[in-house]
């Protein structure tokens, strides 16, 4: 038996090649694909891989951001900067009706808020532009119920996810045929882990929002989670004052629903070191998943990404 040592670089090369392959297949096989851009680290990697897949040409499809209007302000600034730098065709989808009615993470439960502002807005955006394939950054390691997700995940009419209709996936060959009313969700990062994403960001020097790095930020404690007070809409309790603490975010989403972790890692090297010693799954910081291991599946059946 020979003693082979595999450098991490080689694992990343293979994951990169697989993602590029998936991108090219999607761009060629579907009529109107779209890249779902949610501004975070996974989206940043997705975008970088898309640039690689079609070089020297640009992206052959638009990008869409589902904006709940409750994202961190820094995220929106970062999005607009990247769009300008790369000349992307950006579409934004917001549930304006619900917004006008005052739906917020504070007025509704997290599950209901997510359904209205994310799921409904995502479906409406896809329908409005007539996209037949939506590329997203979901990974199988994120959560137990994702372990069975396909790379090419079929949605029935009405964006319904039917576990029994999911297609078997063999080799690199994907059945991208759609019948009337069906659409596809495509996940090029399916086989990546969270650490792969960070190592790749480091290797490729990919630009990500500064929220991932530790900094003194105003936070309050809610149900054991540190929530950043990002704007004046945050309802402070009587006498409550936001405290400045050195925190960073493992995932980015709607600021009232995204827990910060205390950290001093203000650069990639420290951050990855912290990651490697950390043993919590990243979704532990997301308040929307907290209702047991299967709640993601219930959301998916409704059309959540």
């Amino acid at each position: 038996m020979s003693e082979t040592t595999i450098p991490y670089e080689a694992v990343l090369d293979e994951l990169e090649a697989e993602a590029i392959h998936i991108y090219r297949e999607t761009a060629a096989a579907f009529r109107d694909p779209v890249l779902l851009y949610s501004i975070g680290k996974d989206s940043s990697v997705l975008l970088h891989l898309a640039l690689k897949a079609f070089a020297p040409a640009g992206l052959p499809f638009p990008v869409m951001h589902v904006d709940t209007t409750w994202k961190f302000q820094e995220m929106i600034a970062f999005r607009d900067k990247r769009v300008a730098e790369l000349g992307l065709d950006l579409r934004i989808s917001t549930n304006d009706e619900a917004r006008a009615e005052g739906v917020s993470p504070f007025s509704h439960g997290t599950h209901e808020y997510t359904r209205i502002m994310k799921t409904v807005a995502l479906r409406a955006g896809i329908d409005r532009y007539g996209f037949d394939a939506a590329i997203g950054g979901a990974r199988r390691d994120e959560e137990r119920s994702r372990a069975k997700e396909r790379i090419f995940s079929l949605r029935e009419p009405g964006h319904r996810w039917d576990p029994r209709k999911q297609r078997p996936e063999f080799w690199r060959t994907a059945n991208t045929t759609l019948s009337e009313g069906q659409s596809m969700r495509v996940f090029p990062l399916s086989n990546w882990t969270e650490l792969d994403v960070w190592r790749y960001i480091q290797r490729e020097a990919i630009d990500i929002p500064a929220l991932y790095f530790a900094k003194e930020r105003p936070v309050v404690e809610r149900d054991g989670a540190l929530i950043m007070v990002d704007d004046e809409r945050f309802p402070l309790r009587d006498g409550e004052v936001a405290q400045m603490r050195s925190v960073r975010f493992r995932t980015l989403g709607c600021y009232p629903l995204t827990g910060a972790v205390e950290s001093t890692a203000d650069n990639l090297v420290d951050l990855i070191a912290e990651m490697e010693s950390s043993t919590m799954s990243e979704r532990a910081g997301r308040l929307i998943d907290g209702e047991g291991g299967g709640s993601m599946e219930a959301k998916k059946a409704e059309g959540y990404f």
Binding site: E14, E25, P168, M280
Partner: protein, 616 residues
């Protein structure tokens, strides 16, 4: 960039059922290689499902690998799940976990399709069971080269060597019959932790490695011959400065700048000018790399084409293949029905022309069969609409494997493994004649056409065809009628009325009508043709405006009352089980070119038809 392939990711497939302790084995492997987050470990410490005897506070490893809610409720695995594990040597393991229940041969095939190594679980106390052979057969079929027989629950047989040896001998015999090149065996207890990630003192008679050590020591089974260069074109990249590149993944072999290549589909050759990536040009690209190739001169290349090296390793296009199918669809395979064959980025209509045998995946026996049902494996012959270069599956999974896709539902109904091309299509070159279709049309004075009348037996298809032909004949139009019953007395007298035979009946009639149309005739086909997909296959043979699908829409009550051939009476008496409208369904056309009603004024129908055929 490195130029040798290191196989940085090991694709592992795990076979066995919950009863064999599979979830516990995978859970322990993941937990003891630190591949599970702490909160999930804590969950497995605190949560208990019904029937569990593990005390709260200890890790129930089987809980780490559960996925969907439905599975947790039923306590069984219902689909393939993928999980990561990192080996101490840096190699990534991607575990494809397939459920073990026997109705899930298709899931097993999915999990094994990319597999390098299979871990085959056998319960030491229960011994080898039919599903052990089934899993091994499917793994071998799908090209898994290394099989590790994990004889689990050794604690239940007192860690004795005899039960282990007995099991290994039986499995080894099957593995060698199937030609698996690398077979090992490890006695273990996943529950007690013996020989999973570390060696045990319980079985001094076993000197081999633990499962984790065996995985660390794994190297790809070397192929003696150099793998041929294969590059399926996925996407054409066009950019400024007249850039035209062919994007794809090297699925086999390697390619360097300056190499001569051939586009297998067209036979055109060229030299590789550049190997382009986002990070700069490469001198060489190897298996697994996703690149963009440019050629030294303009050659017609489209998505789906296969670029290969020149010489003896080049792929030859053919349009008939021998292949093994794993049938995945809920509807059985139908002879003569047109499916979409998808291989890599290529997609071409194809027909299964013959089922040679069905394979008993437990005994290895070949049984004669007329069709394949869900979870069946069998050898078939396939005809494609145009020649395509397919490799034997043993040469390359990517260019030898294919999917069959139902053209109506878009479901994947089969996974196919090409065995060999049955006929080099180069031997069949269509001759071009000087008197061609246009010349015949000039002489005839009109275009040929096929008018396909579909409807229930007794709906009035033949009567309408008869009346229409009389009208057209009087107008100087050359016509012919292909009537279902008449065709069945000659050309199709070998066919019955099962769905497969009906598909073949439609296929032959469609081909004959096409020849007649090409000769310039207006051909009426009067055929029940009850299945949408068969009619779709027929229509696919024709160009725009050449084929008119006409639904003769008469209620089944009216048809049964007329009953010109006494069929409905026989069906009612039970002597015609395959009667359309009675025992078998009639699938109403979704978008017919014309709908005629079989009751009322036949001359109105004839007028509508005449206008549809000749124009105003």
């Amino acid at each position: 960039m490195t130029t040798t392939r290191q196989t940085p990711v090991l694709h592992l497939v795990t076979c066995g059922s919950v009863d064999d302790g599979k979830s516990t084995l995978i859970g322990r492997l993941l937990a003891e290689t630190n591949s599970v987050p702490l909160d999930q470990l804590e969950y497995a410490r605190q949560t208990r499902r019904g029937g569990s005897t593990i005390p709260v506070g200890e890790v129930d490893f089987s809980l780490l690998t559960d996925g969907l809610e439905a599975e947790r409720e039923q306590g069984i695995t219902i689909d393939v799940a993928y999980r990561h594990m990192n080996l101490p040597n840096g190699r990534r393991v991607l575990i494809a976990d397939a459920p073990g229940h026997e109705q899930y041969t298709r899931n097993m095939a999915v999990a094994a399709s990319n597999g390098d190594v299979a871990v085959l679980l056998v319960d030491a106390a229960r011994g080898v069971r039919p599903q052990t052979h089934r899993h091994l057969t499917v793994c071998a079929l799908m090209g898994v080269k290394t099989v590790i027989i994990a004889v689990n629950k050794m604690d239940l047989v007192g860690y004795r060597q005899a039960p282990f040896d007995e099991i290994v001998a039986v499995v080894q015999a099957t593995a060698s019959r199937l030609g698996v090149p690398d077979v090992r065996a490890i006695p273990m207890s996943a529950a007690a932790g013996d020989n999973v990630t570390s060696s045990t003192n319980e079985m001094p008679w076993f000197e081999g490695p633990s499962l984790l050590e065996a995985l660390c020591g794994w190297e790809p089974v070397e192929d003696t011959a150099m793998k041929p260069f294969r590059f399926p074109v996925q996407f054409i990249v066009r950019a400024e400065g007249n850039f035209r590149g062919y994007a794809g993944t090297v699925v086999s072999g390697e390619v360097s700048r300056g190499d001569e290549i051939i586009v297998a589909d067209s036979g055109r050759t060229a030299l590789i000018d550049r190997i382009v990536t986002f990070d700069g040009d490469l001198e060489q690209a190897v298996t697994g790399q996703a690149v963009t190739l440019t050629l030294d001169h303009e050659v017609d290349v489209t998505r789906g084409d296969l670029i290969t090296g020149v010489g003896p390793t080049a792929a030859q296009p053919a349009d008939r293949f021998s292949a093994d199918l794993v049938w995945l669809g809920e509807e059985p395979l139908a002879h003569g029905r047109s499916y979409l064959l998808v291989s890599g980025s290529r997609s071409v209509p194809a027909t299964v022309t013959n089922v040679r045998y069905r394979l008993d995946v437990v005994s290895g026996h070949e049984h004669s069969a007329r069709l394949l049902d869900m979870n069946d494996v069998g050898r078939v012959e396939i005809a494609t609409d145009r020649p395509i270069p397919m490799d034997p599956y043993t040469t390359s999974r990517d260019t030898g494997g294919f999917l069959l896709v139902d053209r109506v539902t878009a479901d994947t109904v089969a996974a196919g493994l090409t065995r060999h091309a049955m006929r080099r299509s180069f031997n069949v070159v269509p001759h071009s004649y000087d008197v061609d279709h246009e010349a015949r049309v000039r002489l005839m004075g009109h275009e040929g056409k096929v008018v396909w009348l579909t409807g229930l037996p007794g709906s009035g298809k033949s009567s309408i065809a008869d009346a229409a032909v009389r009208r057209l004949h009087a107008l100087g139009v050359h016509t012919y009628v292909l009537d279902g019953d008449n065709v069945r007395t000659g050309l199709n007298k070998d066919l019955g009325f099962t769905p497969e035979d009906r598909a073949e009946n439609v296929r032959r009639v469609a081909e004959v009508s096409k020849l007649m149309m090409d000769s310039g005739l207006v051909v009426f086909v009067a055929l029940v043709s009850p299945y949408r997909s068969d009619r779709l296959s027929a229509k696919a043979l024709f160009g725009a405006g050449e084929f008119l699908e006409v639904h003769v829409d008469t209620s089944v009550e009216v048809c049964a009352e007329r009953d010109p051939k006494g069929l409905y009476a026989k069906a009612a008496a039970g002597s015609l089980p395959n009667m359309t409208g009675m025992g078998q369904a009639y699938e109403v056309p979704e978008h017919p070119d014309l709908i005629l009603h079989g009751v009322g004024d036949i001359e109105a129908s004839v007028t509508a038809l005449t206008i549809a055929i000749l124009g105003e």
